[in-house]
Amino acid sequence: MIKQILIGMSLLTAASTAMAGDIEEGKQIAYDRKKGNCLTCHMMDDGQQTGNFGPPLIAMKARYPEFEKLRAQIFDPTVRNPNTSMPPFGRHGILTEEEIDKVTKYVHSL
């Protein structure tokens, strides 16, 4: 029983370490000018020299309680608003599926 709890706890720790790693990687992808380049348009986190073309990315869990909706918005924002200026990061292959997962985890944490 104790052994099982210990295994369970270490699995949980591993999961949250993985999550923290994804969030950190997501941040790097988001800040990378050749990848997400999010700072060009969005004020977010500790980003420097940010633009204001898009809204500031704060309180994201309140704005997007559902992770999947935020992911879909990053994947292709033209679904919700065809006139948006935000690039369709997934639909146009600007980021890979995996990169979008990580960026979404990061943005959701803001």
Partner: protein
Amino acid sequence: MKKVSNILSMALVAGTLASTTQVAVASPEQDREVFVQYFEKRFPNVAEGDWINGVYSILPEARAQWEAMEEFPPYELDIEEGEELYNAPFATTGDIREGEGLFNKKFANGKSFSDCFPEPGVRAEYPYWDKERSEVVTLEQAINECRVSNGEKAWKWNKGPIAKVSAFMSYESRGQIINVEVPEDDPKALEAFELGKEFYFSKRGQLNFSCADCHMSGSGLKARAETLSPSLGHTSHWPVYRSKWQELGTLHRRYGGCNANIRAAKLKPQGEEYSALEYYLSYMSNGLEYNGPGSRK
């Protein structure tokens, strides 16, 4: 209730139809009025006619520095060189007489640009719709056509001597009023105008931006530290000495750069699309002054 909703949906359909029809039949002049009103409403503090100063018309904090730069403009020598090129007999301009096809024109005919243009200050005559040729003719195009018709090799479109001659001619034309016409007796002219309009509003490239995304609905907002300039007046001040280029470049060079920024294919300078875009945007700026060449960051 059902009846009301029927009426409502009929009204909606009628409204949609009406607005669709309206868009389809809107004259260039109606388009221009809407375009101008959009920017006047968005930037109510811009003085009349000041749109020709681009981003500085909406960015007073950066304006003083820019005006200081314009007092000793970085394109000054280019204008002088452009003037020399303009006046030089074609024999002495040097970069020609190569290639078999030109062999028979080995000897100079002694003519110069002044044999093609009545005077250098003809900026406001371009771009125009040439009915016989059924195409938009830009100033740069006319410059190169003058060379070719005199047995000279066409210059490259984006920079170098063509930009210098264009700068000299624009300088001699400062203060002329933009007055582009879309002749009503030639439906092809309206087609070219509409092609330019469609280009302006169409999303393109991997980043999926239209010209209007940044320079209409995004104008005045910032991408990183750069304020996006309003399109009204966009075509008044070319060619431009751009600090980023460290040299003069033509309007179509800038179009190519914009397209590259949004990860779209750069189109051919002086090709149908960019010339149509210049035609449309120049028409949108009708009534404003030509003030080229200009300098920008």
